[in-house]
């Protein structure tokens, strides 16, 4: 349990998907213009992360990893399908987004109206694929992975909402012309990243 919270906090603050790994930057910069839409996207990303990451963990552990197929019998002990993992992971993510979109549309129209337009954006959000790939590289166990997926989602959400809040205010500032818009967005993200680095070394 202690480890669970440790990974959760690390994923939210010190290893924030945006500030330390730059994952999901495209939608982060494109959608962070108002707080309302960024809230929607943040929730959608967290939601998809919690769904796809465990699924990919199962696929990785029982299908892709070297020796993962040993449950089929002795003959399959040495099969290593890890070279297919990119393909399988992205397919799972694309399929899940499609599925979730359809389900949400059918069963929760209100939620669909709020999140619907963001779901297609998610299939190509690097943060989602990134979590699955990090999971494979860092050899997480299942519970560690849940913490990591949840933390990454919340961290991403936190980042995009705070960015949107800053951008709403910054509209009234006098910024040098060539720096307006994208330029200042990058610099603010960098400064926020430096602030988040001060969580480094936090221990629970």
């Amino acid at each position: 349990m202690e480890n669970f919270f440790n990974i959760l906090i690390k994923a939210i603050f010190t290893g924030n998907m945006i500030f330390s790994f730059f994952l999901g930057m495209c939608s982060y910069l494109a959608v962070s213009k108002t707080i309302k839409t960024s809230m929607g996207l943040g929730v959608a990303v967290t939601f998809m992360l919690v769904i796809t990451a465990p699924l990919n963990w199962l696929l990785n552990t029982y299908l892709l990893k070297a020796g993962a197929l040993s449950w089929l019998g002795e003959n399959y002990k040495d099969v290593d399908l890890s070279y297919l993992s990119f393909m399988i992971f992205i397919a799972t993510i694309a399929a899940m987004t499609q599925l979730v979109e359809m389900m949400v549309e059918k069963f929760a129209p209100a939620l669909y109206n709020a999140l619907g337009i963001f779901l297609p954006l998610i299939a190509v959000n690097c943060a989602i694929l990134g979590v699955s790939l990090f999971m494979q590289e860092r050899e997480y166990t299942f519970s560690e992975l849940l913490a990591f997926a949840l933390g990454s989602g919340i961290g991403w959400w936190l980042a995009i909402v705070s960015m949107a809040a800053i951008r709403e205010k910054i509209r009234y500032s006098n910024i040098p012309k060539p720096l307006q818009g994208l330029g200042i967005a990058f610099i603010i993200t960098g400064l926020m990243g430096i602030a988040f680095m001060s969580f480094m070394g936090i221990k629970i």
Partner: protein, 232 residues
């Protein structure tokens, strides 16, 4: 518009084509990839004994210097019929200590000096870290060490693989004056000058440094019996 049958056939053909192409590539390149991993392991082992190698001469140097290897258990008994090099530490560290296979590589230098190199594996801040530590023939003093990591923070935790950090381990000891096991650990804020069991932790990389201390503590403790037997 395309019919469903067309779409179905199209996607099936695509999947089969892609699967075949990827499998061919993967099978073709597998030997080269495996060889890279093998060479890297050799280079790491040599680096622990302070022998620099390149990817080209690693194999020759490894044959020349690593003259012997043994596999022991946590009671310090030599297990016959096991080779040290293929032992997969990732699997071994998951077993309980008394069941582990513990490889020892013995390096004979040109001047006849012998180094005993043991592999370690542990957890850093983010992912796995690993290393090799070479001991002098008193089985106490460290002759050299080599660490590496998979995904520590660049500039902070990732510094464990720099030579500045590794050099600190030279001449440190893992037993105190009474022969009690006391492994080297990282000290936050810098170790005292004559501390035989401490090295400076990495500034800003405290959690990686702690992970490294734990790796040394756990990884070397299983060798204590073997070392004690060898000393006598």
């Amino acid at each position: 518009m395309h019919s469903n049958k067309y779409i179905f056939l199209y996607s099936s053909a695509m999947v089969i084509l892609v699967a075949v192409a990827l499998t061919v590539v993967a099978v073709q390149l597998k030997p080269a990839q495996k060889n890279n991993i093998r060479i890297e392991k050799m280079q790491n082992i040599l680096a622990a004994a302070n022998i620099n190698s390149t990817t080209k001469d690693a194999e020759i140097l490894f044959k020349k210097f690593i003259t012997e290897d043994v596999v022991v258990n946590s009671k310090g008994e030599i297990i016959n019929g096991e080779q040290a090099f293929p032992v997969n530490l990732e699997l071994e560290t998951k077993k309980p200590p008394e069941k582990r296979l513990l490889p020892v590589f013995i390096c004979t230098k040109e001047n006849g000096e012998k180094n005993y190199i043991v592999p370690l594996r542990g957890k850093g801040l983010w992912g796995p870290i690993w290393g090799y530590v070479a001991f002098k023939k008193d089985f106490n003093t460290i002759a050299g060490a080599m660490f590496d990591h998979k995904s520590e923070t660049p500039g902070l935790g990732a510094e464990i693989n720099t030579s500045a950090f590794r050099q600190q381990f030279k001449e440190k000891q893992i037993f105190d004056a009474l022969g009690k096991y006391m492994p080297v650990r990282t000290v936050k804020g810098g170790a005292k000058k004559n501390d035989l069991h401490g090295v400076d932790a990495i500034t800003g990389g405290t959690l990686t440094s702690n992970g490294l201390s734990n790796m040394l503590q756990d990884g070397l403790s299983v060798y204590v019996e073997y070392f004690n037997k060898q000393k006598k």
